[in-house]
Amino acid sequence: MQPDTTSESPGSDVTSTVFKDTELTLGLPGEARFSGGKTCSKRGFIETSMDLNLGDSSSSSHTRGKILAGQDFSSESLVSGAGKPSAAKRQEVVGWPPVRSLRKRALEGCKYVKVAVDGAPYLRKVDLEIYNSYQELLRALEQLFMTCFAIHGNYVGEGERKVMDPMKEMEYVPTYEDKDGDWMLVGDVPWKMFIESCKRIRLMKSSEAVGTLAPRTHPRSCTYNEVAADQQLKAR
């Protein structure tokens, strides 16, 4: 179990290292629709990988854009607590369908926030409305920033209080700025409240997070998704 403390490992295939063993936690976007879907049964139909080449253990970046038959996709749907596949919102492939942000926002009451990562030269925007839980959001953030680091997630599990597992490998702490301008730890408040109050997100280096955040609203920080943690550990 090697902690990967470098966010950019030269040479080796960064993408596949992260995603090789994450079949349960990081399925393909929109994977739910493939279960029993018409495209699964047809060989030779073109199925290009969405955004990131996930779930395909033989994948190196070479398979990007190549034809993948439906069977290559894991038949397990996203572990998202979202019941039936038909009820789950289609996970967003970046920029598809090609609807402009302004339009999306106007129609869906989208909640786009900027996400910054300490040390990375670029920002991303995510729409908080498409996620149903902290779990989903953190997973999406991992995907988005495509690095080997793991994101330390302390968040309220859906009603359940799980035992907190102190993780030594955690490098980045997800924090957010709320409506009052305070920087808080992601996971402190119930998910719905978080969506409403979050203005932007910053993945802060753990070393800096200590002492800079506003006091927690919940006395007991709880839950770390053990499955997610295990998967990430195996990937190291």
């Binding site: 030269p10 495209t39 919102k89 920029g95 598809w96």
Partner: protein
């Protein structure tokens, strides 16, 4: 010919040239001979730069010393869909600085997909005494503070159009910065602003500008204020409402209806956020005059849409949500015989299941019923080759055809075949097709059709399509008029690109993301083609830290006479002639 050309004094030639406004014609004039080149460049007043990095501000200024109007475009089109990372570029600053010094009489600036800051806006406001037109289309980087500077200082401003820009809303008071004696406003479009503008300032502004023809309000302007605005500007030709919702009250309704009736010149309507259907009849009196109707934010159902659209016999342009459904499009086909452009947007693009009864049939109906239909943007969830073939045969006059089948790789739902022959029919029958966007399940065959038939095609958008490099090769080798090609998530690699390297210099730009192009090929292209900028956009770190055969994330190639740019962020790599990998 030479003798004849010299026998006219320059002033006469200049006068003749002044009747030629079209850019292409003026470009042609300038190539006739040296003397015509000289006269033309001194008399050119307007320039369009399709890619702000294709040329430098200095070069434009040196050639055209007397410009009054400039239009610039920055980021690639796919930036609209978040495919271009923040910070890529498209900064207008160097242009504004250079022009502030060179063109004190500049009147018009039109920008699309560029980054403009408050400082840039302040410089514009200070530098150009006769500034008249500012159009910022899909721009970003500025706030309402910058707008305040423009409002306060541009005494001759006619047009302020913020078309879909991202504006940081610091305060709605910027509008109050228009001086009390400022009366020259002709066009104001603030539809994209989130914040409330000072309503009394808006009312006074509208009331004192007799030439106001276009007013597009933002969502924050409530419906009960609309009537007052309309009564102050009955000469309006184009109106964008704010939120179209209010408690249903007869007095508010009749006030609104009366105000609309008073606008005898109104031809274009938009806005309609949060529509309460009970208020729609307020616009019925003016429907028969409407030529443009943008209901693409109106979340109303098909029956209400049918009632509305059924009265718009003179409609030429209709933008609407897929709530209109096939039934609504049947009504459009029956009532709007002059329709030229139809855009149908998805109300629930990320939902896994269809939420409305909109299929290919709606588009087929309109193609049958509307003989002038030439421009289509259509989001739907199912399509068939048969439908596409029907549309193609019905509408050989189609010039813009953009189809987005929401699920990537969706085949013909009747036959389960790829949609190659359907799109093939489109390019074969629609001989003047200029713009095409593909979707659905597509093999290399569709590209063969495109390369064979789409001889007038200028812009092509491709996503999740094709099987091999042959597809890309067909397009690059066959489409003689291709200027812009944008591709995402297709299995196209190095071969077609390198085999058609020369073609790239005849185009404005090529975008490829999530394809199979390697860094090695990019280096080769960059070295061999000095008049192309080959930009590798990759957020995973330096491309040479991965094997050379590893596909890059994104590629943007454009022709340029300005050489490599110097404002690239850390995730953009470019290679130039001396084969050094250039980092920003």
């Amino acid at each position: 010919m030479q003798r004849m050309a010299c026998s006219f004094p320059d002033e006469v030639l200049e006068h003749v040239f002044s009747f030629v406004q079209c850019d292409n014609d003026r470009n042609a004039i300038s190539t006739v001979c040296k003397s015509w080149y000289k006269i033309e460049r001194w008399s050119r007043r307007r320039v369009f730069v399709g890619n702000c990095y294709a040329i430098s501000p200095g070069m434009v200024i040196r050639r055209f010393p007397e410009l009054r109007s400039i239009e610039l475009k920055g980021k690639p089109h796919f930036a609209d869909f978040n495919l271009v990372p923040d910070g890529w570029g498209g900064y207008v600053a160097p242009w504004i600085s250079a022009m502030a010094a060179a063109y004190p009489w500049l009147e018009e600036i039109r920008l699309k997909r560029m980054v403009i800051t408050d400082e840039n806006l302040e410089l514009i406001a200070k530098s150009f005494k006769n500034f008249k037109v500012l159009v910022l289309s899909s721009c970003e980087g500025f706030s309402t503070e910058g707008l305040a500077a423009v409002a306060a200082n541009c005494r001759n401003l006619r047009e302020l159009d913020l078309r879909e820009s991202e504006v940081e809303d610091l305060s709605g008071h910027w509008l109050s910065h228009f001086p009390d004696d400022y009366t020259s406003l002709v066009s104001l479009n603030i539809a994209c602003l989130g914040c409330e503008v000072s309503f009394s300032a808006l009312e006074r502004l509208v009331g004192r500008c007799p030439n106001l023809r276009t007013l597009r309000l933002n969502r924050a302007v409530p419906l009960d204020k609309l009537a007052n605005l309309l009564r102050r500007a009955p000469q309006l030709v184009e109106l964008g409402t704010g939120a179209y919702s209010s408690e249903l009250r007869p007095d508010v309704f009749s006030n609104l209806s009366g105000a609309f009736s008073g606008c005898k010149e109104l031809k274009s309507l938009s806005g309609f956020w949060d529509v309460v259907p009970g208020y729609l009849p307020a616009v019925y009196p003016i429907c028969c005059r409407l030529t443009t109707l943008n209901l693409s934010y109106a979340t109303i159902q098909s029956p209400d849409l049918i009632k509305l659209v059924g009265q718009c016999q003179n409609l030429q342009r209709l933008w609407v949500l897929d709530y209109i459904e096939d039934a609504g499009l049947d009504a459009v086909a029956a009532s709007c015989k002059g329709l030229r452009e139809l855009r149908v947007f998805p109300s629930d693009p990320f939902g896994p299941e269809p939420n409305v009864l909109l299929t290919e049939q709606g588009l087929v109906s309109v193609s049958e019923g509307c003989p002038k239909l030439q421009s289509v943007l259509y989001f739907c969830r199912q399509m068939s080759n048969a439908a596409l073939m029907t549309i193609a045969r019905n509408r050989p006059n189609m010039t813009r055809f953009r189809l987005c089948i929401i699920e990537p790789g969706t085949p013909d739902y009747l036959t389960l075949q790829p949609l190659d022959v359907g799109f093939g029919a489109i390019v074969e029958h629609c001989k003047d097709l200029q713009r095409l966007s593909l979707s659905g399940l597509l093999t290399d065959r569709v590209f063969e059709y495109i390369g064979t038939y789409a001889k007038k095609l200028e812009m092509l958008s491709v996503a999740f399509a094709g099987e091999s490099d042959l597809g890309l090769h067909h397009v690059l080798s066959g489409c003689e008029n291709l200027r812009k090609l944008e591709i995402r998530d297709c299995p196209f690699g190095d071969k077609a690109l390198l085999a058609n390297a020369a073609k790239l210099e005849t185009m404005r730009s090529l975008w490829m993301s999530s394809c199979s192009v390697t860094f090695g090929a990019c280096k080769l292209l960059g070295q061999k083609m000095p008049r192309l900028n080959v930009e590798v956009i990759d957020e995973r770190g330096p491309p040479d830290s991965r094997p050379e055969r590893c596909p890059i994330e994104k590629l943007y190639i454009y022709r340029t006479v300005a050489g490599p740019r110097f404002d690239m962020p850390g995730f953009v790599w470019t290679i130039d002639e001396d084969s050094a990998m250039r980092l920003s």
